[in-house]
């Protein structure tokens, strides 16, 4: 599973970081980015899906392998 944060949509709600701190980084301005170039370890896939469905800006996208 690979995910990315669409920087044009992210406004820093930080819901992804709250739900999956292993998968996302937050900068000083509250904006989110994915770690490990967006590759989600198998054990974190459920958390990645939770992050996707809780983002108020629909900014987290899953993209094909």
């Amino acid at each position: 599973m690979r995910i990315r944060v669409n920087a044009d949509k992210c406004t820093g709600h930080a819901r992804c970081y709250g739900l999956a701190p292993d998968l996302f980084d937050m900068d000083d301005y509250g904006l989110s980015s994915v770690v490990r170039v967006g590759t989600v370890p198998a054990e974190f896939e459920d958390k990645a899906r939770l992050a996707i469905v809780n983002c108020p800006e629909y900014a987290i996208e899953e993209f094909p392998e």
Binding site: H13, A14, R15, Y17, G18, D28, Y29, G30
Partner: protein
């Protein structure tokens, strides 16, 4: 507050006691028959109640300006607040650079440094009433916490907290009383101008001192902007979070199953906090229509006021399953309690930390509590909705 409302679709009054006490049934009714309501009160405004409409407006900064963001007109403020209260009351480009100055103060890593103080504060407050077996969870606890944390960030003494609370209530809760609002605003402006003078040229590490030293594009930030940002930090940092915290503690006083579950499984708290934020969203903002535009078939004209009904959007059954039920382990929860788009609440990380820590400490010390029989829970509403008094007892 004036005459009683006959039809909420064309004459709503968000300060009406019926709306303050139970806005939920009013929103449900409006969503069904008139999802964008209209009222001539307080200078006139529109009131969208669906998630789709509210978020569309929040993200459309071309047609909707943040040059005014209060639910009642505050035109008279421009004399004493010449730069307004940026970034919340600003459009790009001013919004962009003022927000960048404030955001690092509320980043995840910075907020973590405020946590030990917050935890100590919660415990000191509980020490004050634990032995009594009763307390007002709103006035004695919720209302005391955020105002002190933001005071610490601003670098002002703890003993100003009650004064701050009074100002914030007059400016938000009693905004329809212009005389009271303006008197509080003037006191706050005078106070913060004095604090700015006291710090000018110094090397303090509080927010006010740091803003005084900051430069944007090689130029010192002018006092008008600093005053606006500092005032905003106080107002936005106090009433909003204490209201959300009061609602959460009220919910747990009245829903024994949820309370027992959180006591048994504190790890669930961060998810529960998001649900409390959704179900009891405190904040309604406003926008001003910049150029004529249509929303859900309603013709909005330049200069019209639109109330950003984030609380109603968060109860929209098209956006949430069982929207009217509080489900503390709700898995899918794209709530917009902190707004949406470029004006997402700059202090949301701080608010979350305060809510989580304050509920956690309360439940650890007072796991079993309920509303005091025969007592009156009172709510405030308008720009910010939350309980002002939640009398509880505990064995």
């Amino acid at each position: 507050m004036t005459d009683s409302v006959s039809d909420w679709a064309v004459d709503y009054d968000i300060f009406d006691p019926a709306y303050v006490a139970d806005p939920f049934s009013i929103w449900d009714d409006l969503r069904d028959r008139c999802p964008v309501a209209r009222s001539p009160r307080y200078g006139g405004s529109w009131l969208p109640t669906r998630m789709a409409d509210v978020t569309e407006i929040a993200r459309d900064i071309e047609h909707f300006s943040s040059r005014e963001i209060t639910v009642v007109p505050t035109d008279a403020d421009s004399d004493v607040l010449p730069a307004g209260s940026p970034p919340i009351q600003a459009d790009p480009p001013v919004h962009t650079w003022t927000r960048r100055l404030l955001l690092p103060w509320f980043s995840h890593s910075r907020v973590a440094t405020y946590e030990p103080y917050t935890r100590d504060l919660c415990n000191q407050l509980i020490d004050g009433f634990a032995a009594a077996g009763s307390a007002d969870a709103a006035a004695d606890y919720a209302q005391q916490i955020p105002v002190r944390v933001i005071g610490r960030i601003l670098g002002v003494p703890d003993d100003m907290s009650d004064t701050f609370t009074g100002w914030v209530r007059s400016i938000l809760e009693f905004a329809y009383d212009q005389e009271r609002r303006i008197a509080a605003r003037d006191e706050a402006v005078t106070y913060f101008l004095g604090e700015m003078e006291r710090r000018r040229g110094g090397d303090g590490d509080d927010l006010i001192s740091t803003l005084l030293r900051s430069e944007v594009d090689g130029e010192q930030v002018s006092d008008a902007f600093i005053l606006g940002m500092v005032g905003l930090a106080l107002i936005a940092g106090a009433d909003t979070t204490w209201s959300a915290l009061g609602s959460s503690l009220w919910h747990l006083a009245t829903h024994e199953d949820d309370r027992k579950r959180l006591v048994a499984d504190p790890g669930l708290l961060p998810v529960a906090v998001e649900e409390f934020l959704r179900a009891y969203s405190p904040v309604t903002m406003a926008r001003i229509v910049a150029t004529d535009v249509e929303v859900a078939g309603c013709p909005m004209h330049a200069g019209d006021r639109v109330l950003m009904n984030f609380p109603a959007a968060n109860r929209d059954p098209d956006a949430f399953e069982e929207a009217d039920r509080v489900i503390i382990d709700r898995a899918v929860n794209r709530h917009v309690a902190f707004g949406a788009g470029i004006h997402r609440c700059a202090g949301s990380n701080l608010a979350r930390m305060e809510l989580t820590v304050a509920i956690e400490e309360w439940l650890q010390r007072i796991p079993d509590y309920r509303l005091e029989e025969g007592s009156l829970v009172t709510w405030a509403g308008g720009q910010v909705r939350g309980p002002r008094s939640v009398p509880v007892v505990f064995p």
